[in-house]
């Protein structure tokens, strides 16, 4: 019985999962397809009642989480892409001098 209830829900929800398919695909690429997929199948298996509630939907919550994830990664990558200040390289150069000084 549970199967009979879940299956139509699965297909119906798959059809209109997110209105903008391009957005979803883009997010999937940025966030990691596996994670999106596994979450989606978890969400798809929610009982039917859940998908009818008007309160902020699970799709919406998931979307927000993904948006935060994309932003977080971007914030990190921004620093990664900055040129390395020379002081950092000097530390390793000093390390060298110390060694040859010792030797």
């Amino acid at each position: 019985m549970a199967f009979a209830v879940l299956k139509p829900v699965y297909w119906r929800r798959r059809g209109n999962l997110l209105q903008s398919g391009a957005f979803r695909d883009g997010i999937e690429r940025l966030w990691g397809r596996e994670r999106v997929r596994s979450r989606r199948s978890m969400i798809d298996q929610q009982p039917m009642k859940r998908s009818r509630t008007k309160s902020p939907s699970l799709d919406e919550a998931r979307l927000r989480q993904q948006a935060i994830g994309v932003r977080l990664r971007q914030m990190f990558d921004e620093v990664v892409n900055e040129p390395v200040p020379d002081e950092f390289l000097q530390i390793l150069r000093r390390g060298d001098e110390k060694r040859s000084g010792e030797g």
Partner: protein
């Protein structure tokens, strides 16, 4: 006790290989320090200290193993030992992040990133570091657990709590900043994510 720490005989060829790999990790160390502490100046000091420590400890590193995780662990330990030294530091994290906001004051900078930075600064430190390592640093849960010296399950629960908390902070606008209303941060982040996803 093997005297791996005795640095009397460093192999120059090995040192050179080590150095090359370490140089490549500098940008990542800076990013980890910056997102962890929120304050760019303090973060660079931290990353430099970690770099120095990593170089000095190079004899104890096993070439071919994960140097990124190893250096991140060093940076993290450094971060915590400095934190212990200056009590109340955790209280200051958010102030530091806000100072950064003022200092940057770049009209081009996307609002959403600033808000995210503030939200991140409000998370408990264990949650923040777990989220940064897994959500931005590209580490697997297992690697993050090793870096944080805790169980894999602990990292997983910290990451998921961090995600929920961050979303809550961004949606409720419970960070303190003039001129932005509740929920605005989340909307800005959604809009930016959409723009990014379409650009790629």
């Amino acid at each position: 006790m093997a005297s791996a720490s005795r640095r009397t005989e460093h192999d120059p060829i090995r040192d050179e290989a080590f150095r090359r790999e370490l140089v490549g990790l500098i940008p990542h160390l800076r990013a980890f320090a910056r997102t962890l502490s929120g304050d760019p100046t303090a973060a660079d000091d931290l990353a430099q200290d970690a770099l120095m420590k990593a170089w000095d400890a190079r004899a104890s590193f096993e070439m071919g193993t994960n140097m990124k995780a190893w250096t991140f662990m060093i940076l993290r330990n450094q971060f915590y030992s400095e934190k212990r030294r200056s009590w109340r530091q955790s209280q200051l994290d958010q102030e530091a992040a806000e100072r950064t906001l003022v200092a940057v004051d770049n009209p081009e900078a996307p609002v959403a990133l600033d808000e995210l930075r503030l939200g991140l600064a409000m998370l408990p430190i264990e949650q923040r570091e777990a989220l940064i390592l897994v959500g931005a640093g590209g580490f697997a849960y297992e690697e993050a657990a090793e870096i944080c010296d805790c169980a894999v399950g602990t990292v997983k629960s910290r990451v998921s709590r961090a995600r929920r908390a961050l979303q809550g902070i961004l949606e409720s606008g419970s960070y303190h900043r003039d001129g932005s209303s509740a929920g605005e941060a989340m909307n800005a982040i959604l809009a930016d994510a959409e723009r990014l996803s379409q650009a790629k």
